[in-house]
């Protein structure tokens, strides 16, 4: 129901810059994830949008209008807090109705809106319970309902799934997406979990030390992180150091611990021959093969971790670093077994070392 724009948003605490010149534009109805580790500035950005912190520089525009002068209780922004922040002394009904009562709506309308939103989050019938009588998942839905019932322009979600167990998390991912798309509300999610970001958002913004590292679709960030840092954050597990050579046709060779790996020329654009580089590959993209070939390394299994859907192996001895392929089935591979690991060139991300 509204667009959100941040222009050059900066927040400094004395000498420390928490948010550094952040600019982004969220379209109407878009869900954007701010992804980063603790201290990256994502929560500070959220607080500035909500009005709990004043920007040192920069502007925040909701539907084109600057909100700087508007106090937080007039901004009509729905917030979901990581610890839910449900009012312990009020029932579920009273919690959800709180914002509506402040808007001075009439009782019948309040009752109707509360009933509607509770049915949307599938909590009908729990009106009279107190937060302490609810399970974690139920509390979370009340918090979501409370944030949405006032029909805010913008929805801010602070680590919405972090307190849930695995099963509930999957359930809520689907629910949040469904509700958000159904209501068409512009949403910003703040999270440190790349899976959460990728599964929920239309666009992902990776942050580090107050600055934006990369903006892109979940798929782009997931497959083509723009730096070794982002790759690491997105769960790339194998990083190999090497020196890149000049182009040989469409590919370029990289010498890693004496072995040769080929990467597509496009992946290493602009990197001069002779530069030290880091190669990054996702576990799932590494393959175990039977025969030697191009981009195949031979090594020995040093660890086997069965995870149910995949088995994660650690292979040493091929290059200086540990290579970590993941295999899709229960494998009988043992410790100490020799293996051949194939690294598909198209899947390799190349980063120049700084």
């Amino acid at each position: 129901m509204a667009t959100l724009e941040l222009i050059g948003l900066t927040k400094r605490f004395g000498n420390f810059t928490a948010v550094d010149n952040m600019s982004l534009k969220a379209d109407d109805g878009e869900m954007i994830a701010l992804l980063g580790g603790s201290g990256c500035g994502k929560t500070t950005t959220l607080r500035m949008i909500a009005g709990f912190a004043e920007p040192t520089e920069g502007r925040i525009l909701v539907d084109g209008a600057d909100v700087a002068k508007i106090p937080p209780y007039k901004r009509n922004i729905g917030i979901f807090f990581q610890n839910y922040a449900l009012f312990p002394h009020m029932t579920v009904f009273e919690n959800v109705a709180f914002g509506l009562k402040l808007q001075k709506l009439k009782k019948p309308e309040i009752a109707q809106r509360v009933a509607d939103i509770l049915s949307l989050v599938k909590l009908t019938g729990l009106d009279e319970r107190y937060p302490r009588e609810l399970s974690g998942g139920q509390q979370q839905r009340v918090a979501l309902a409370r944030a949405l019932v006032t029909r805010p322009h913008i929805l801010l979600l602070d680590e919405p799934l972090s307190n849930l167990d695995a099963k509930l998390r999957i359930e809520m991912q689907v629910e949040i997406k469904r509700i958000q798309k159904g209501l068409g509300i512009t949403t910003i999610i703040v999270t440190h979990d790349h899976e959460e970001a990728v599964s929920l958002a239309d666009r992902v913004i990776v942050m580090h030390e107050g600055k934006i590292q990369q903006i892109g679709s979940p798929n782009e960030i997931f497959e083509r992180p723009c730096s070794a840092f982002v790759a690491d954050f997105m769960g790339f597990s194998t990083f190999i150091q090497g020196t890149i050579g000049p182009a040989e046709g469409e590919m370029r060779p990289v010498t890693c611990s004496g072995k040769l790996l080929y990467v597509p020329g496009g992946a290493a654009e602009g990197i001069a021959p002779g530069s030290p580089v880091t190669l990054a590959i996702r576990s799932e993209n590494l393959q175990l093969v039977e025969e030697e070939g191009e981009n195949t390394l031979s090594g020995v299994i040093s660890a086997v971790t069965y995870k149910g859907t995949t088995t994660r192996l650690e292979v040493t001895g091929c290059v200086a670093e540990t290579v970590c392929p993941a295999v899709n089935e229960y494998t009988q591979r043992q410790l100490g077994e020799p293996v051949l690991v194939h690294i598909p060139a198209q899947r390799i991300c190349v980063y120049k070392n700084v």
Binding site: A50, G51, F52, P71, P72, Y73, K74, R75, N76, I77, G78, I79, F81, N83, A85, L86, F87, P88, H89, F98, G99, L102, Q103, R146, A147, T150
Partner: protein
Amino acid sequence: MREKRVNIFSTIVAVLVMLFLIAPLVVIVIASFTPTAVVVFPPKGFSLKWYENIFSSSTHFMEGLANSLKIGLLATLLDILLGVTAALSVCRHDFKGKNALLNYFTSPMYVPSVAFAFVLLQVYSQIGGVPGALRIFIGHFIIILPYIVRNTVSVLHVFNWTLEDAATSLGANPVQVFFKITIPVARPGIVAGALLAFLYSFDEVALSSLLSTPKFITLPIRIMNYMELTFDPTLAAISTFLIAGSLVLIVLMDKFVGLDMFVK
């Protein structure tokens, strides 16, 4: 089934201590019904005459009660205002010197009431013309303030401040947040503190005895004066009254706020 974690020794000592704590009170209650002027055990009969005597004007107990209640209630109300704002200032906000400020708020606790009373006495003599009720009121509201501050702080210490942010995001202005969210959630601490403060004022003797004037005397002092003149079971009767009052208060506390507030 949880294992028993207590040994016999502790159990026995605990029981003995409980008996020790209860003993004088039980004795008083029984003594209040004795017909004889000197307390004899077992009491030879049953009489309510000492209770009747409480109301007689020669004891001044009713007048003393009124005075004690007036001071206690007014001092407590004022201190709720002063103490809650003080507690909020140090709990919700973070600033250098926060701990020093908190210590300042609770500093009257560390000054013996006789010392403070004496200081006030000298100040009053210098100023002159300070009415008895006011003399005592000033002393009381200062010395009971730490109770309210301390108990409110202990509740606010574990207060989830994001509740205030949540209310703000839903449209509540700072005043609304304060009255609809902050105060209700902090209420147990405030009530416990207010109760302790009131009782401390009500039972206070040292300061009151130094600062009272012939026209304004509080109940505990009246009781002590009576003790010096006539040591009869009227004292037991008024004591039983006060004991009953305390019992009612503790039951009310438990109902509304729970007794865990005291275990801090």
